[in-house]
Amino acid sequence: MPTLPLIEKYRATSFEEIKGQNTAIQEITAFLKTFPMKKALILNGPVGIGKTCMAISLAKEFNLELFELNASDLRNRSKLDEVLKPATAQKSLFKKGKLILMDEADGITSSDRGGLPELLVLIEKTKHPIIITANDIWQRKFNLLRKKCHLVNLKELRNEIVLEILIEVLEKEKIPDREINLQTINTIAKKSRGDIRAALNDLQTVLELGQEAYISEKIEREKQDTIFNALKIIFQNPTDKDTLSAYNNTKLDLNEILLWVEENIPLEYKGKALTKAYDSLSKADLFKGRIYRQQYWRFLVYQNFFLSAGISASTKLKNKTFISYKKPTRILKIWLSNQKNAKKKSIIAKYAKLTHMSKKKANKESFLFPLILNHKNTHEKLDLDEKEQKWLKDKKEAMIEKYNLG
């Protein structure tokens, strides 16, 4: 058994070993050759696709010393001085120059210690090329940073490439075929969604613990597959084959998902696509209603279809801009409003009982309650408590003021 984790053992250290990112490699090479036209370059993309590897390899290819910075180093004077010193003054002994790597920039806050302003200053003054890696550079706080840097967007690795890497590792590890079957490898590759780090970690689990253990481990990982990912697949990848099963990993029930989708449709779509998306959502709700009313659960298929593929088909365009999805707020608003209207509701219930009508109908008359129920006798008759009486009194005063009555 290998003592070094696979992910370290087989970390790519040269451009040749990095797979599926050829365009990015060209861009990053061009950046270095034209330095200091642009002083920094951002590698933006999902986790585990080789951003850090790319920086390491770049340093190696160009014989540069890799100098890693993290968020807190940005306030560390002595470390920064080293960077800011004239390049000639501190040439390392054997290498030509330095390459600064600012890894995982998402962790930087805009105002706190070791924050963004320092990074911007660093870019201004640096004598060395800077590589910044990030998962999501489209957050508003990075607006200024983006302008100052050359931006390279990386996509997740294609499934075949993950598969190729996994098989290569298995060969190098000399694992016999019978110990791990192709189907498991396929599952690992597919589940990783282009995250080679996750794939290699999964492979390691399988090798060490056997395929059965992997399955339970897999379930754990799926839990972390959040609704955000699902929404991203639905909203931004209309061609993804996985749209139908996008919600499977979210561990949320369809009702919760419906609310998530509802909250975020307007953030994602405009114009005709907005109408189409809402039409699908409306149809999903239609089937939900039919399920509830008729207890015909096969309709669930259609509810899921309209909620996923239906909405996904609203547009053929792939949306590349980053959208920070929001938590559904409607339920909370309804709850808050119910708290606010609790007095009114309880009065309605009492009034409805006394006057032989439904609460629904009583609600329609409730706009007149402050004027018609504000008598001591009526309070007694309706058995209103002090809070309810106060509500009526306050409302009456508000009404008289608002409509200039009395």
């Binding site: 419906l258 509802e262 307007p266 114009g271 005709k272 907005l274 109408t275 998306a277 809402y278 039409d279 959502l281 409306s282 709700d285 239609l286 939900k288 209603g289 039919r290 509830y292 009313r293 008729q294 409607r330 608003k333 309804i334 409003s337 209207n341 009114k344 509701k345 009034y351 409805a352 006394l354 006057t355 032989h356 009508m357 439904s358 609460k359 629904k360 109908k361 609600n363 329609k364 008359e365 409730s366 706009f367 007149l368 004027l371 018609i372 129920l373 504000n374 008598h375 006798n377 009526t378 008759k381 009404m399 008289i400 409509y403 009555l405 009395g406």
Partner: protein, 340 residues
Amino acid sequence: METSNPLNPEKPFSQEPLNNKNSEIWTERYRPKKFEELVGQDDIVKKVQNLTKALNIPHLLFAGPAGTGKSTLALIIVKELFGSTWKENYLELNASDERGIDVVRQKVKDFARTKALGNVPFKVIFLDEADALTKEAQQALRRTMENYTSTCRFVMSCNYSSKIIDPIQSRCAIFRFKLLEKKDIEKRLRLIVEKENLQISDQTIEALYESSEGDFRRVINLLQASASISPTITAELINTLTSTAKPAEVKIVLEYALSGDFLKAKEKLLDVMLKESVAGTDIIKAIQKEIWNLQIDDELKVRLTEKTGETEFRMTEGSDEFIQLESLLASFVLAGKGLR
């Protein structure tokens, strides 16, 4: 003219003075207590009165608009039948408030299990807003009705008899209540005005009639609300009060949508619905009316109205009114695109 109670001849009916100060809610104080007091439904009253006199009513189905006297007639019937013991022999259920048919059935069973008190061999269950029951629930109710026929008579009310399944309709004597005419409303209204020492002009009566759309409950509530401010009832005050009930803000919602600001339209819509707890069905009615007042092309109005109709249909079939309304707003956003 006093009708005597057939079961209790010593106890004439209109014994309680009309001005019963115990109940300050006018809709209750002035709720007709005798057949003769009910206005605008003369034919129905006559027939029902005869049935009641014979001490044997069939199952009854009252169909008609709100505030025309359906519940009131049911109450008169039971008071007439049972006299002072009416409360023990009468169960009022509201289909739109009871959460499931099981609740209804359980309550019906518990109530019908014991024998009626007095001379009348049955009890009476008033099932208000029976059209709020689903078809399935109505089917279930049909069996219950049959099983307890000997001990229990049903009086059901609904706005539209078409929403009641045929098997139930065929078991009931159906009475269709008319929308109250102005003269009927005026007659009873003047009586109340006199008792309460109010001043009212013909023009104000007209305003009350107009804003109530024939719903007498609304007329009385508006009258009482106005009277709480001034004994002189003015048309202006009536109009101010009714305007507070209308979801006028629906127009603002639509304007946001037409101008392309979907998020604002959505937010405002939720706000309107929550603040006054307006039901989605009322919002869609307001939208449908508002479309014709919008400053847009007629053809567009037709298209949007069609979409509104489809949305209203989906609201009755779906589970979440708000989602359906949002979907409609998205159509308004798209329609507004050509206008900008």
